[in-house]
């Protein structure tokens, strides 16, 4: 065998609901109408929350915030495929997923207002707090999946990341471990085309991110990230594959960051409004709305009700957050270790004697 082809790989892309809201019924996941409506309601709620958070920041009522505008389907549909017993590891741009998981929206606002209590995930919820250092949640998510496998728990772990995260060493080490030990984990990459001002073309020379899975010996698939059905199906299948002991999957959800990177960013400095316009036309919510309408599952009254409910939910969260008493400075120390060592007791004492107005030793 002098110069021979020893392996062939095919890369698939999944789309079920196209830009016009046309649906491939063959492929459509068998969701009851109410479940499809639920997806829609979550996506509307996610966007409502996002718009409110953005406004609050502009009004000086919230710290830096990372918008998910345009990524609602990718987040909501993927998270909706999780069981409560599954674990979820977000990056820092998944309020849509956290909302579906049932994290009180108050806490998301709290986190972005600079209050750690926003990361105190409720006991019943198997979610990791937001991770700021890009890609570092990936090996940890793999490790949690490893823990589940070793304990024999029939659960799966869903790890979120962005396109920029795929360039980091921890992406590589996390996925490689998942492959070698066939861990019950699904890596869900929201490829929103940008890492702050760095476009995908500067992130990798590969035409797709999905093909990176080939390096780790497990399957990767690209899905239309603005197609709630495709996202749901790919994620649900991958999670089930994981739960049943068939190993990891990498999903590239192709979507777009319609807004600035965060409220501290100005995207007009580095990208064309034309590109943004094109992607707005692919809006995930509008797409699902059209579908529901065709199915007779949507009308103005329903829309009214959905937006109204979303608005109330979000306003309530804002009120709750803004009425939360300030955090106790002691918290700086309280959670460093389970028990506070002597040297930290001394430092805490210094803090307490009038917020560090007394001996700092």
């Amino acid at each position: 065998m002098p110069r021979t082809i020893i392996k062939r790989f095919n890369l698939e892309r999944l789309q079920i609901l196209d830009e016009q809201g046309n649906c491939d019924e063959e492929l459509r996941p068998p969701l009851p109408n109410e479940a499809v409506r639920q997806l829609y309601q979550w996506m509307v709620a996610a966007r409502t929350f996002d718009e409110k958070a953005f406004k609050l920041q502009r009004e000086g009522r919230l710290g830096t915030y990372a918008s998910i505008l345009g990524q609602e389907a990718a987040q909501v549909a993927s998270a909706s495929a999780l069981q409560p017993s599954d674990w979820m590891f977000p990056s820092f741009r998944e309020p849509g997923a956290s909302l579906v998981r049932g994290l009180p929206l108050r806490m998301i606002l709290q986190y972005w207002s600079g209050d750690e209590r926003g990361s105190m995930i409720p006991e019943r919820q198997n979610d990791f707090p937001i991770t700021i250092p890009v890609a570092t949640q990936i090996p940890i998510g793999a490790g949690a999946a490893w823990g589940a496998k070793l304990k024999g728990d029939p659960i799966a772990v869903l790890v979120y990341m962005g396109d920029g995260a795929t360039s980091k060493g921890d992406f590589h080490e996390g996925l490689n471990l998942a492959g070698v030990f066939s861990l019950p984990v699904v890596f869900f990459c929201q490829n929103n085309q940008w890492a702050i001002s760095v476009p995908l073309s500067r992130q990798t020379a590969a035409e797709t991110l999905a093909q990176k899975a080939i390096a780790y010996g497990f399957s990767g698939i690209q899905v239309d990230g603005n197609d709630a059905f495709a996202v749901y199906k790919a994620t649900a299948d991958a999670l089930e594959k994981a739960r049943t002991g068939h190993g990891p999957t990498f999903i590239e959800a192709v979507t777009y960051r319609i807004g600035d990177h965060t409220t501290a960013d100005d995207a007009s400095r580095y990208r064309s409004t034309e590109q943004v316009r094109q992607w707005k036309a692919k809006d995930p919510i509008e797409r699902l709305r059209k579908y529901l309408e065709r199915q007779g599952l949507w009308d103005q009254a329903y829309e009214q009700e959905v937006t109204e409910k979303a608005r109330e939910q979000v306003e309530a969260a804002v009120r709750e957050e803004e009425n939360t008493p300030p955090a106790d400075p002691q918290d700086i120390f309280r959670y460093t270790f389970r028990e506070l060592p002597v040297e930290l007791q001394e430092q805490l004492a210094a803090l307490q004697n009038g917020n560090g107005r007394r001996p700092s030793r």
Partner: protein
Amino acid sequence: MAKLTLVEAINLALKQEMAGDPRVIVLGEDVGKNGGVFRVTQGLFELFGEHRVIDTPLSESGIVGAAIGMAVYGLRPIAEIQFEGFAYAAMEQLVCHAARIRTRSRGRYECPLVVRMPYGGGIRAPEHHSESNEAYFVHTPGLKVVVPSTPYEAKGLLLSAIRDPDPVIFMEPKRVYRAIREEVPDEEYVIPLGTARVVMAGNDVTLISWGAMLQVALQGARLMGERGVSSEVLDLRTLSPLDMDTIVESIKKTKKAVIVHEAPRSCGFGAELVARINEKALFFLEAPVERVTGFDTAMPLPKLEKHFLPDAPRVVQAISRVMSI
């Protein structure tokens, strides 16, 4: 002579050095088209083009590793780590290669590399955007560590850092980025690494600080001045190499010292300062050297950071303690 912010002063230094030396390359995340998330590299992309002002993938170890390769090959790369709290991933490259290639190769190769990184708290930034880890770098033999405190200082020190034949960690006090304006000469000027400066002369107590904490030290000094205590305030400028003579000289005069830094206390650079003072001026001390520092806890998110960061009242307290002995 224009009044510039620290951001503008660094930007000016970069422009001048890149214009003067074609070997100088800037690389990092968002340093090109976007001009850096703090606009420190603004305009460089337009002036010098995408081959000398390079937007890289999200890859701290790769950025620093590649910059080491460029430096070894004969360029003078300036790598930016977007926030100091993201430098951890580059530690292996910094410790194992940047800091060692000269000694490993017995001088055959050198690594004239500058790694710029905004550091420190007080700007209500998200988690890991407010760290202050100078001690890791000072504890790494083969690295130089520079921390400018004002616009004028920043320009002169950065030019020295870029021209230095060895790797320099250049930590920029992001809290000062736009907080101060001061006259910065258009002309080139260098401030040699390893020389501290006396910012305020005094006789009663020596305040030692660097970077963003210099302003806090000065506030404390002024408050105590009103109470008739004369403080001598030192700005170390470079932590490695360290200008110990200036420190000892001052302490021999004042007999008391207070160190101010925002990094966690244990094994912070303040500890090294106390140790060297102990070795070189112990018997001049009339009081234990005071450390006003961050706590041995994680840097809090914005809502609580003010309780963590040293401030003028804490400096005043520390001065009062050393004076009252």
